[in-house]
Symmetry: C2
């Protein structure tokens, strides 16, 4: 071997073809579902001016940014798709129609410490609805309808879309007189589903919360489950704070709409322990988990925010959106055995000329099959029979059309079903039709 | 406005939604055609170790590389998809099945001086067939079959796939005793279609070529057109050099196969003036031009090479492939008026509830339409009628389904054809069917 390190960089995902095909299928389904609901795809540069990214970043994110100079420019690789969206909307404001429903599937970069399941380059698949000045809360119900549609189709088993509302959390803090400590309290609430009740109590005590406050927070975070039941329980808490009440009403409106849209009630729930780390959410928040794989954590999260682009424009741009971290999700699904690796093929059919004299006829046969809508490969190397079938086996074709001298004379080809080993003789002009029937 | 520059960086393409949709359509067609012929998609990181990229780069390319340090790593953004392919094949050699047919559509980076139609971030859409030790020349005929399929479907008017063979050029140099000057001579041949015959002669004279040599080169570059005619003319030159003869035979075999595959002979031609700048081509070379837009230059080029990954592995990996520079192509097509901008829509249908009381019913109607396979948007903001229709107009929906109080009572909605302005009353449970018929 040459003295060059050809391994992919640590923290970067690079898939073998069969896995890549499965990855692309998932990406394609997400893209199609986004379009089904009328979200317009956009594409922005991976490289941005550093000042754009740094206006929003901070703390850990800022340290992780890939930043460099080229000529006189201070440049960085985007670390999410939200900041580019904010810049895009601020810049193209006059050319966009609001509400602006956009989807964006692209790679983002974070120089994290490499660890299992964490990636430095990963795909995000985002949708957002951006309003100008106002945006109806109805859109907060459309977002989970998209999530429902995607994960139903992806078929990774039962999932739950968990909803909460930041106003409820903020209102609760106010009513407890904890406004100033709300960040610390939210941090504890956010992990309450992962640690025990006594640990939570300990954490709250560290913040000097009194027993009444802790009792109320414990009652609060214990509320979860079916929307109608949970909302009733929230109302029964009889917290008089305006923001709390507004949050409960929003949550009721959103979940009522979801129900009337025919989203199966088993597939969404109120979960008051979800807070979402990012500061900028102000209303509805979402997380989605796979019931059988809680260890995967949230596979799709997002929420409502008051102002997308305050760093870049004075226009008020409220919005609601979600993001799917596809690279991490794929890695986790693969680890959990939910990706049927090895089944990925691009072409179902291989046409195999047995010698150079059959190449012309084979090209013709392959083209006929393609024209009937079937992706078709053709093996053009003149190699041993054993090697030919090794190619067919390893690549996983479903059918192989064998084109030999006798086949051309007789006008019939042998078609081998690679799974069963069965062979059939089919007239050359019927091959496309035969395969189409078999593959449907 | 805030004091932040939100404009996209110079040399980077960022499209408005309607253009983006057209861009994506072209990208999707290219991806589908690549798969139709059995090319497996791969995806590699945008960031590579600098040593990987620099092993291959050099001269202008090296200066253009985006290179930076992160932690202890000397990193660079890839400048093409060929070097990552070479690294991928070298690294995953044991897990791949040869011939390895891969497609790759992704962004690459070159810090060129910004000028019209030149981009610093651009999509390349590549296919290559990589053999192990050997690769049949039949694959050299499959590649133009893919080009033909793509550009026929893209419908940008008549195009010509121009073919040449490096062996012919090299053999000619040998027979003229110009082996040592072949680079300079090829450079002149490469631009012979762009400058006059007398200018070419001048250039050759500068290289101290004698009149006989210049005459022969002039006769040679004048040969072009239909494959059968051009190959006859090449044979009539009676150049005894082995490499020349081998190149003519290769070109004959490839074009004979293309003809027998049913590729329209008007769509390909021999052009002995194409040489392709890159040193590593060793056999068949391709360029593709749009007949009505010669000023666009080659929109798809590539060729055959002896060894893909000699920098990274001792395995011999011959291959043949092409690349479409999609970002530049889109820019040029747009400038030439070949992109029907403004027609791009993601959803054909908009469902428009006239008030909050009609939102639930509208969600249900929209979902029914989606389930019949039609992408459908829904306008959920409670705004003035004028603004609602402005949204429908500007986004370019074909049909708007109006859901008002009366519509729900009567069980019939007004569906407006946005182009003609015609309105029809359709029973709610027939809307999906109605739209499906109209849109097919």
């Amino acid at each position: 071997m040459k003295d060059v390190n050809t391994r992919v960089l640590p923290g970067f995902m690079e898939l073998l073809p069969k896995d890549q095909i499965e990855f692309n299928k998932i990406k394609q389904i997400i893209a199609e579902e986004y379009q089904k609901f009328g979200f317009t795809p956009i594409d922005t540069p991976v490289i941005e001016r550093s000042e754009i990214l740094l206006a929003k970043a901070g703390g850990e994110t800022e340290k992780q940014i890939y930043r460099f100079n080229k000529g006189d420019n201070d440049l960085s690789l985007r670390f999410d798709l939200t900041v580019p969206l904010a810049r895009y909307v601020a810049d193209h404001y006059n050319d966009l129609t609001f509400p602006f429903k956009r989807s964006h599937i692209g790679k983002v970069y974070r120089g994290e410490s490499p660890q299992r399941g964490r990636f430095r380059e990963f795909y995000q698949c985002d949708i957002d609805v951006i309003g100008h000045n106002d945006l109806s809360i109805n859109y907060d119900a459309e977002i989970p309808a998209v999530i429902y549609s995607i994960f139903s189709r992806l078929n990774f088993g039962k999932f739950t879309i968990k909803l909460n509302n930041r106003k409820i959390l903020a209102g609760l803090m106010n009513s407890l007189g904890l406004g100033g400590q709300s960040k610390d309290v939210l941090r504890i609430i956010d992990k309450s589903s992962k640690i025990s009740q006594s640990e939570i109590t300990e954490e709250f005590k560290k913040l000097d919360l009194n027993n009444d406050q802790i009792k109320l927070l414990a009652d609060f975070t214990a509320i979860s489950g079916r929307a109608s039941v949970a909302i009733e329980a929230l109302k029964n808490m009889a917290i008089a704070d305006d923001e709390f009440v507004a949050g409960v009403n929003d949550l009721k409106l959103v979940t009522d709409l979801m129900r009337s849209m025919g989203i199966d009630e088993d597939y969404y729930a109120i979960d008051l322990s979800i807070a979402r780390g990012l500061d900028y959410y102000t209303g509805t928040i979402y997380e989605t988990t796979l019931d059988q794989y809680p260890e995967l954590g949230s596979i799709c999260g997002g929420g409502r925010y008051d102002d997308l682009a305050s760093y870049y424009t004075d226009e008020k741009l409220p919005g609601v959106g979600i993001s799917i971290g596809l690279t991490r999700l794929f890695y986790q699904l693969n680890e959990a055995g939910l990706i049927k690796t090895g089944e990925g093929i691009v072409a179902d059919v291989l046409v195999m000329p047995l010698g150079q004299d059959q190449v012309v006829k084979s090209f013709e046969i392959a083209q006929n099959i393609r024209e009937s809508g079937i992706n078709t490969d053709i093996l053009l190397d003149d190699i041993q029979m054993k090697k030919r079938f090794k190619y067919a086996d390893k690549k996983g074709f479903k059918y192989v059309v064998i084109v030999g001298e006798n086949e051309i004379i007789s006008g019939e080809c042998v078609i081998q079903n690679m799974e069963s080993g069965d062979k059939e003789n089919i007239a050359i002009d019927k091959i496309a039709e035969y395969l189409k029937n078999k593959l449907n």
